[in-house]
Symmetry: C2
Subunit: 267 residues, 2 copies
């Protein structure tokens, strides 16, 4: 028997992914955490990660998929088993790097325990933005130009492992996504807009970081992103085709149409 | 007779510059704008820029210096003279580019009217950050590492003409300065800090954009920058030596000492 384990984090993505899979996955989550709309079959603790991974193999799990954001948990030194304790120096090193280093470390760890990590793009490609116009209207020439400038800004940042998103209006960069994520960026732009011309317009560009391992932590938008973009006075959202998850797609499309936002994906 | 014209924008810099000059400059400002601590001798309008530049030459002005921020003004088509009107297509092109393109365009325009633009670094080098430790303490090893990462992030952004500053804490980028400037960046970081670890610490790195024409719009810090950095939980400010203006230096040093901030400048 071969089975897929779904390590479920926060938000609606784990349940949307489970619904896309042909066979029900083994749902796992951090101890004490209840993923939205899914019953947890295996709760685990980081302090007992090694026995958890061994147990998965014993359960017939042959691959793992991660979905949903996970906070870096606080660790209780008293709870470590001997095998996981031996992994601690390595885990500490991973946690002190950027998000990418952490995720690459987690993938390597699972693979050492014969649990290959599979990606959302492979398992549930329908959750990702397809290339082309997604909403009711495509971009204007000005929105296209702003999106191109946004892509150039994010590509410039890729070598320093920063930036899954940025906001551009009339060629000017209004903000770049950093540690605090998309919602914070769009809220910052909304608050700062009165400071400088132009007071509205512009495009939010959301892409994977070049070189980002897409098996964990795909860039994601959802209904809240549309609301936040509209609140920031933006008129368009440009995604990266095949690399950005759209949560609650029907709602996203309806909201974008209602707000008059162009929604499209470039390669 | 040869004289320097000072085109005065907002903030304390024009008066600090005037005080550093050997001979009193001819103070010019946009019509309706009163620079801090300086009496305006020539008010001008963008719509009548050509006659203004010709008048400067007639007044014996042989060079121009810009100091202080200037907003992109709204233009009244009825006020243009014929010569300035002929410059409009070019001015529109300049205004639609980034700040750098605009400033390069302005410099080129003045120089065509035999008014070479001189830089603050040449006229008043004492206003710029000298290399080394400026405050009461130098950076810790962690602050130095964060500053180096900040420098790398800003250098990555230079080719796309974005970023005079960024905030880094424990290797993670908390924010990047975009259109809204330093104060907005530091206020955004202060507001967003509760969202993610670590809740305090980190360094604000302030540099000129590589390739930026330093004759106009030098990056500038002042007492407000120190207050804003401390409010954002930061413990250090790393400037670029010879490229960043420090307004009200005595106050800045006293505030940094009071707040315990490391203040230093790298090449």
């Amino acid at each position: 028997m071969s089975r897929l384990a779904l390590i479920a984090g926060a938000g609606g993505l784990p349940a949307e992914l489970a619904a896309e899979l042909e066979a029900a996955p083994l749902v796992c989550a951090l101890d004490g955490f209840a993923p939205e709309g899914l019953a947890v079959e295996r709760a685990f603790r980081i302090e007992r990660l090694a026995p958890f991974m061994r147990q998965l193999a014993d359960d017939g799990v042959t691959a793992v998929v991660f979905a949903g954001a996970m906070q870096r948990p606080r660790l209780d030194p008293a709870l470590f088993d001997r095998e996981t304790a031996a992994l601690v120096p390595r885990m500490m090193g991973m946690m002190q790097g950027g998000d990418d280093a952490l995720l690459r470390g987690v993938i390597a760890l699972f693979e050492e325990y014969d649990l290959p990590v599979r990606g959302l793009a492979e398992l549930a490609p329908r959750l990702l933005a397809p290339e082309g116009v997604l909403g009711e209207r495509g971009p204007t020439a000005a929105e296209s130009a702003d999106a191109e400038r946004g892509v150039a800004i994010l590509e410039a940042l890729a070598p320093v492992d920063v930036g899954q998103g940025c906001v551009v209006c009339a060629g000017q960069c209004l903000g770049i996504e950093a540690l605090y994520g998309t919602d914070a960026l769009l809220a910052d732009v909304a608050r700062n807009r009165p400071l400088r011309q132009p007071p509205s317009g512009g495009v939010f560009v959301k892409r994977a970081k070049r070189g980002q391992d897409l098996r964990i932590d795909l860039p994601t938008i959802g209904p809240d992103t549309i609301t936040a973009a509209a609140t920031a006075g933006l008129t368009g959202l440009c995604l990266q085709a095949g690399q950005v998850v759209i949560l609650q797609r029907e709602t996203v499309l309806a909201q974008a149409a209602w707000a008059g936002l162009a929604l499209w994906a470039l390669p």
